[in-house]
Amino acid sequence: MKIEGSKCVGFLGPNGAGKTTTLKIFTDMIRASEGRALINGVDVHLNKKKALGPVGALIESPEIYPALTPREALSMVADLRGLPRAEAKKKIEETVAEVKMNEWLDKKVGKFSKGMKQRINIAAALLSDPEVIMLDEPTTGLDPRGQSEVRDIVKDLKKKNRLVFMSSHLLNEVQEICDEVAMIDHGKLIVYDSLSNVTTRFSSDGSNTVEIELSRDIDDHSVNRNIASLTSVSSAERIDARKVRIHFSGGIQNQERLLQELATMRIGMTSFRPSASALEDTYLNLIKDTL
């Protein structure tokens, strides 16, 4: 498996498939039984210091020394990563603000909830503005608002041309923020491709699915007459009064054409995105066991 460029790659698989193990091999927390883990061409096990220099990683949910404050814990990370003191101070405040923990910067970590610690861990992974970010189920332990904020952080990282490799159990999360998806089962990579290619190739009927949201109500008749009859659309179903799921065949060109056609219909479309259920459908087709 080779990942390059600036994008977000979702890493999916059942419990025990080897997602965390893979990330641990990439951070030299465990050794590979065979094969090598290279970052920018540098073997992680042979030259960890150089290989992990441009990497920020959050593996499982680390504990921070409870007697330290976030400022101290992050200062330690900044020191370990060789950030100059003045820059470190500024970066710590910026990153902690990004994870919405600035009010807790000088309180001891020992008093924090699991979600608060996870926010500080995310801040630690982002502190040195790394080129590559590895996140192992980053939204674990976070409340819905926290999960949404982490998704926004990852989206911002993509805008900054960073490569994000993120394991997750949450398919809608991956669907929302990732450009590519890799699926692993029993330690073997099953598929690695763009999200749309994966859902097209492996969904049960071989079609793509998108969901659109509307600013005004639509009835079944309009859905069947206007949307289901569009070129390449195989079927359309009304999820609720302002939401429609559309199945269509073909690749990215057909998706683009469908978007254009829907836009010209002036039905009040406010959102057009691949359906979360498409990835779930693909996942269930590829991953047959839960363990």
Binding site: K24, L58, S61, E63, Y65, P66, A67, L68, M76
Partner: protein, 262 residues
């Protein structure tokens, strides 16, 4: 490495264990101060050398062992059990830097303890005997430092061996507080050989140097009833303590390098 040492010390000073150990050291010192002041025992007050021999040599090995257990017992195993290691290890630094950095942090915290204990002992000595501090005390202080280094090497090794903090602390405590003394007695009394392979035997130079003349190996009685009291010479003691430090430090480091964060 310096960063790890710095924050290890901050962690020690913020946590209760530093103060608990400091209080234990202060209680031992306060008890000795009170008992010597009240009962004026001749074993303490017959000469300044006897005073330091009884005070320093009698308690310092216990203080060092406590420091080893408090600071070294869970230093590495805690990184696995408490998952604090996950915060450190994913950063671009060698594991040896973590190990050595933490070891130096434990050494500095222990030296502070030793310093406090030594200051109180010397303060009492000056009260009874003036500024006439025998040179053997300074030599004994150096040997104590060497023993501390060896004990911390040993406790870090056991801490690397286990992933459970309670197991690593328990094993080191049992070894230092009971097992080594027991084995030494059995080896000397029954097997009748010099226990040169025991760290506690090497540590005898801390107290032996405060005895004038320096004790030597001596046999009392004859035939099967003969009993030999072994005394480590200074070169033997230094060699034993250095060997313990070097061997356990290398083994501990290798174990930590190879251990997986599963």
């Amino acid at each position: 490495m310096g960063t790890i040492t710095k924050y290890e010390l901050v962690n020690y000073f913020r946590s209760r264990r530093f103060y608990v150990l400091l209080i234990i050291g202060l209680i031992i010192s306060a008890l000795l101060t009170t008992l010597v002041g009240y009962y004026r025992p001749s074993a303490f007050l017959s000469s300044s050398l006897n005073f330091y021999s009884s005070w320093w040599a009698g308690a310092i090995t216990f203080v060092i062992i406590l420091s080893g257990i408090f600071y070294g017992g869970d230093a590495i195993s805690g990184e696995f059990q408490n998952k604090t290691g996950y915060f450190l290890v994913a950063n671009p630094l060698r594991r040896s830097s973590i190990y050595i950095g933490k070891w130096l942090g434990a050494l500095i915290a222990s030296v502070i303890m030793l310093g406090v204990f030594a200051a109180i002992a010397i303060g009492n000595g000056i009260y009874y005997f003036g500024l006439n501090i025998p040179y053997q005390l300074w030599v004994s202080l150096l040997f104590s430092l060497l023993y501390l280094i060896a004990v911390l090497g040993f406790t870090f090794f056991f801490s690397s061996l286990f992933k459970s903090t309670s197991m690593s602390i328990l094993v080191t405590a049992i070894l230092f507080l009971f097992a080594f003394s027991l084995i030494q007695s059995l080896v000397e009394g029954l097997v009748k050989i010099e226990p040169w392979f025991l760290i506690t035997y090497g540590a005898q130079i801390i107290s032996n140097v405060l005895v004038d003349p320096y004790p030597t190996t001596a046999t009392q009685g004859f035939g099967p009833n003969a009993f030999t009291t072994y005394a480590a010479t200074i070169p033997e003691g230094i060699a034993i303590l250095l060997a313990y430090f070097v061997v356990t430090a290398v083994l501990g480091l290798l174990l930590f390098e190879r251990k997986e964060f599963t």
